[in-house]
């Protein structure tokens, strides 16, 4: 079902971004700057232990960065009327959704590839190499939910009058469940280390969230993107 079209759209998004790099560079800088802000916001006194804030800080940063990225990913389409062209192509709307989600996921992963090592250097005192596979699994499951839901809502908000102002208001209350699960899981990994068994509930929850919203977006995207 539209595998070629899927690849074409993803490649288009990646090529466009890699030629200018304005979105990626700003998002990476934003993420790094946010870490500095968090450090000073939380360091109420010398040598305070921030370990139990690490999960929260990391994911708050990613979610805010993603809001920037999601807005950009559709603003460009809209400004140059690329989206109209895309809609005129004989492509299933759902393929557009999946491709857009995949594109956003790739950007988020690129940012995380830079941000997570720096974050670890700044804030995590324990080595979590043993839990790295588990951490990556948590990361991927949370990213998927964030990107799927974010893409659907960004599609809606870019077609409205207030555009990027609207997205956070729609997106943040819906993403809180992911934030709760992923923050707890990440903090546990950073602070004490853990096993697959003890994270199972949270992982299953994230997986369930991803699946449910993929299906919901699949069912409603036709309407969200408009004719």
């Amino acid at each position: 079902m539209g595998w070629l079209q899927f690849k074409a759209i993803v490649r288009k998004d990646l090529t466009r971004e890699l030629r200018t790099r304005d979105m990626l560079v700003s998002m990476i800088l934003f993420v790094l700057l946010a870490m500095v802000v968090f450090h000073y916001a939380f360091s109420v006194k010398e040598g305070v232990d921030l370990t139990y804030f690490t999960g929260g800080m990391l994911w708050a940063v990613f979610i805010f960065a993603m809001l920037l990225g999601l807005n950009r990913s559709f603003a460009q389409e809209k400004d140059e009327r690329c989206l109209d062209g895309l809609l005129l192509c004989p492509v299933d709307r759902v393929v557009i959704f999946l491709a857009k989600t995949a594109g956003n996921l790739i950007f988020l992963l690129i940012i995380q590839a830079v941000a997570v090592p720096v974050f670890t250097l700044f804030f995590v005192s324990r080595s979590y190499v043993a839990d790295l596979p588990l951490f990556l699994l948590v990361l991927l499951l949370a990213d998927l939910g964030i990107c799927a839901l974010g893409t659907l809502l960004a599609t809606i908000s870019m077609n409205t009058r207030s555009r990027d102002l609207l997205l956070p208001i729609l997106f943040l209350p819906l993403i809180v469940p992911v934030l709760i699960a992923v923050t707890a899981a990440t903090t546990t990994i950073f602070a004490t280390g853990t096993s697959l068994g003890s994270l199972a509930t949270r992982l299953l929850f994230l997986l369930g969230f991803d699946l449910i919203f993929m299906v919901a977006a699949y069912g409603t995207y036709d309407f969200a993107i408009g004719e």
Binding site: L152, L166, I169, L174, A181, R202, I212, A216, G219, F223
Partner: protein
């Protein structure tokens, strides 16, 4: 039948049941034996209001699905009206919940699963109205609102589940698995209040629908005389 289900009749019916429920709650049902005493009486309103709020959002969800299938504006009107009433009830849930929280736990606000869920529900459905206000075109506004109402309603149980992933839990689970259950003389008052609240919900939705229909007619008339 039509007369019985008219808004005034429903208002009168709900008034009778709510007052009866209140009287029974104080003079028939037992006073709470634990530390809560009379403050526990708020249960007879708090829980029915919460149920009514969720039911209203359920109605909005069904209306949204029906709208997307038929594109008939009457379902959009039902959707707006249900969300509006649901939001009103959600704010009341928070208010009564906070009053009860102060009496039972000694604090106005606790980050407790159900209270937190309703806080997020309030944000979610407030966003629904923000979304509506920034789309001018009628058909598009209705479509986006429907998509968002569907996503939001799916998110409510997920949010509740996610808040349960956190360790603490202050809320008494009264009905359902693990609940303490209710003795007969509490249940009667509770169910009468519940029924009254459902009638009130129906009455409010009914009345608001009437108002929306009138608005529609005014708009049509204005158009027909060229104003």
């Amino acid at each position: 039948m039509k007369k019985v289900l008219s808004a005034p009749a429903l208002f009168v019916g709900s008034g009778i049941f709510l007052v009866l429920g209140l009287l029974l709650a104080f003079w028939y049902s037992p006073v709470d034996a634990s530390t809560m005493g009379y403050s526990q009486k708020i249960l007879y309103f708090h829980a029915p209001i919460a149920t009514a709020a969720l039911l209203a959002f359920g109605v909005a969800f069904v209306a949204a699905v029906l709208f997307l299938r038929s594109q008939d504006p009457k379902w959009d009107r039902l959707g707006v009206v249900s969300v509006r009433v649901g939001l009103l009830f959600s704010v009341l849930v928070m208010a009564t919940g906070m009053i009860w929280g102060k009496a039972a736990w000694g604090v106005w606000w606790a980050w407790e699963p159900r209270l937190t869920t309703f806080l997020l529900v309030c944000f979610l459905y407030a966003a629904y109205f923000v979304l509506r206000s920034v789309v001018e075109e009628e058909q598009r506004r209705a479509t986006y609102a429907a998509v968002f109402a569907i996503i939001a309603f799916i998110d409510v149980p997920i949010t509740y589940l996610s808040t349960r992933l956190l360790p603490e839990g202050l809320h008494p689970v009264v009905l359902g698995p693990g609940g303490g259950g209710m003795p007969g003389n509490m249940l009667v008052s509770f169910m009468i209040s519940m029924f009254g609240m459902m009638l009130l919900l129906a009455a409010l939705i009914r009345r608001d629908l009437g108002i929306e229909d009138l608005k529609e007619r005014v708009a049509d008339l204005k158009n027909s005389i060229g104003g």
